[in-house]
Assembly symmetry: C2
Homo-oligomer: 438 residues x 2
């Protein structure tokens, strides 16, 4: 069996590795347009934080590891066309016959509406190694940086640059940052920290109308102009699509349509990761979930289904966890702001608890649940102590349709240095105007 995978993204790599295990005799080839595999999307930031010695160390897998498992990697090769009717693909280097084809070319962060003259050349994102390497000097030398978009990538970039003593202009079209994952009321302590940053300038409810470049970049906003040494956009995640995609049925937002088994409209062609819509487990619809955790799982499930329909892809809950400006932030499932998308009435609870019996750092908790059934639908966590892993337990509780009553009894470890008497999940139902002393 000849398996071709387009794109050495998280989805493509995880598909290749799992296919290797399932089909020991298959020939597996990954075609990647960049010059290396496995670069971490936030690798540039991690390198600037001294988490890696070299920029090229910021990888989740290496070409060598793949080759050790007999996975062929073709770098600097671009898919030009696709001929599902004869099971063939055309790249800039040749034609290949496939038995199974997996489209895993990922997404891009690029603002398409900025009228910069050399727009074709100028890609100010840092999702791949070549671009990150190209802009590294400019970033390091910049005294001021404008970041367009205050989602997870934008906030992580802002936090890193502020730590590096740069002046940061953070521009966001919505009225608060991280709006996909958190309710505005819940973020109050975090927003208060942002306001106290001397070198951080926040532009909310603000869209960029134009970016001009002279010696510096001039970013035209509604009614004002921001001048900075460099500009990064972190918005408009969208699939990396090319001409060939018209061979497949697409959604209106240009993602590729797949069934529960991640098969496209063309026989033996699968699509995964940021190219597709996926089930959002607590809603009755598919949504675009451009997340690494989700991409990885979709790659694994596509591998399971290459020969026959084995495992349905169950999608995700949009679970995130990150650290920015000294705060740990985590979220999973539904937030109150998007209650309107949920079929039934919801209710929320806000409460706090100390991180542990020896570390009294506050953990802020907010839960969203279905009012009638008291089934958990979403959780948000915020703390200056590392509480990130708790969000994974919450995600599993939501996936299992657990109610607040059931969660009251779920088992957890107790150790005074690392935990409180009960976990936040256990305490949701015990909470009532902070009367519970634990």
């Amino acid at each position: 069996m000849e398996i071709y995978i387009i794109g050495a993204s998280f989805a493509g790599i995880s598909c290749a590795l799992h296919a290797r295990k399932l089909y020991p005799n298959a020939k597996i080839t990954i075609i990647e347009k960049n010059t290396m595999v496995g670069f971490l999307p936030g690798g540039l930031l991690l390198y600037l934080q001294n988490k890696f010695e070299k920029l090229s160390d910021a990888v989740f897998v290496t070409e060598k590891q793949l080759e050790a498992q007999s996975i062929n990697v073709k770098l600097s090769e671009v898919l030009l066309d696709c001929h599902p009717e004869k099971h063939e693909i055309t790249t800039n280097k040749g034609n290949y016959h496939y038995d199974k084809l997996i489209l895993a070319s990922g997404s891009e962060q690029k603002s398409m509406n900025i009228g910069l003259e050399d727009d074709d050349e100028w890609d100010p994102s840092f999702k791949n190694y070549d671009l990150s390497n190209k802009i590294l000097d400019q970033i390091q030398n910049a005294e001021s940086i404008a970041i367009i978009g205050a989602g997870q990538a934008g906030i992580e970039a802002a936090s890193t640059f502020v730590d590096l003593k740069k002046t940061v202009h953070l521009i966001e079209a919505m009225d608060y940052p991280l709006f996909k994952y958190f309710d505005p009321d819940f973020l109050v302590p975090f927003l208060s920290t942002l306001k106290q940053q001397p070198n951080l300038y926040f532009y909310l409810n603000t869209t960029v109308t134009e970016v001009a470049k002279d010696k510096q970049y001039e970013i035209l906003l509604d009614g004002q102009t921001v001048v900075s040494d460099y500009v990064i956009t972190t918005v408009n995640v969208h699939p990396q699509l090319a001409a060939f995609t018209k061979k497949f049925q697409l959604h209106s937002d240009n993602t590729i349509q797949v069934n529960d088994y991640l098969e496209t409209s063309a026989k033996d062609v699968f699509a995964v990761g940021d190219l597709i819509h996926s089930p959002f487990q607590i809603r009755d619809e598919s949504v675009y979930l451009p997340q690494i955790n989700h991409a990885t799982r979709s790659g694994v499930i596509a591998a399971e289904n290459l020969l026959k329909q084995e495992v349905k892809f169950t999608g995700g809950l949009r679970t995130i966890g990150t650290k920015a400006f000294g705060w740990y932030l985590a979220s999973t499932g539904l937030i109150e702001e998007e209650a309107f998308v949920y079929k039934n009435e919801i209710a929320v609870k806000n409460f706090t608890q100390p991180f542990s019996l020896t570390d009294k750092t506050t953990i802020y908790c907010k839960v969203v649940y279905e009012k009638s059934s008291e089934r958990l639908l979403g959780m948000q966590l915020l703390s200056k102590a590392d509480c990130l892993e708790k969000i994974n337990t919450a995600a599993l509780a939501i996936e299992n349709n657990m109610t607040l009553d059931e969660l009251m009894q779920n088992d957890h470890f107790f150790q005074a240095e690392f935990t409180n008497v009960m976990e936040p999940l256990n305490r949701i139902n015990l909470e009532s105007e902070d009367r519970h002393a634990f």
Copy 2:
């Protein structure tokens, strides 16, 4: 309604606090034989580690917090007799009528078979404040300490004392430490660290036949004598029972029999925490689970059931997490060593993964699952990085009867600094002779 709770243990306190919320007009009284409430069982160790400024700060709740919620606390008062037929109790200070009585007097760590002359006086455990305070000087001045029992409490004590540069003799009847929670093969890296401790002497497969005291303590083992400045026993956790308990139906090990709603054989009398047997969720039997997490939940559930049978107590999975000798150790559910107690055939998988993409510290993982259904039954984790919280997600997966296939798709956050590409739970099914590169 007059509610009396015997014992300001975790079970007693959590019952009182939850009853306060459920029954705002009830009169709630806790009777406690010690001179303070809320002392942490390991408080002495945490104080010696400088986690608390004063020994008396090592508490999970204070008398003031309880009184602020109109919970009466009677200290230094001992239950002498119980008259269920007339709803009365007798203490050393008087007689009280109750409408509902909750027995929550907890357990003791005391070795009963040591022939020390002043055995009645000498209680070398550190579960309560008075005793901890009494032995504090002796512990601090001791250059050598013998610890009888290498369970969680014994290992935590040994780690603390070794850090304080004391010579430690650790004596254990079984052939490896922490045998309730871990398989011996899994602990190899941890045991290797123990062997490298210059001031730690390990006596395995060894029982204490006698303890004598001259200037120092002489601990007679099978064939040898250990001499130390102080002795602590951490074994023989057993219920604190007194004469009155013959009023209730008991199990053969002297725990009090309760039904699913934690009611004893006497009307309106409940028993919780370390006094009872509880369901062990993956076995078809009740077991003795003297754990704080479990005690707390049983107190909450007893409160739910005071007026009528509302919520069944679901027991626990014996989940633990701790840190000792630089290692984080966590376990939940079934271990391979006790496979014989499980009704069906089990299988196991061992694998490792780096803590995160920026921190390559190894996490050792072992899972136990049912062979036919591939349902997860147990997990053990060991690492020099803090991976403890992952055990709570595993516990929730076991409680929900999840299979390895289902776990492959469970959602989790990804952030290169804090996670790997996939979580251990997701990877169980992908593991095959370490071929998976993630």
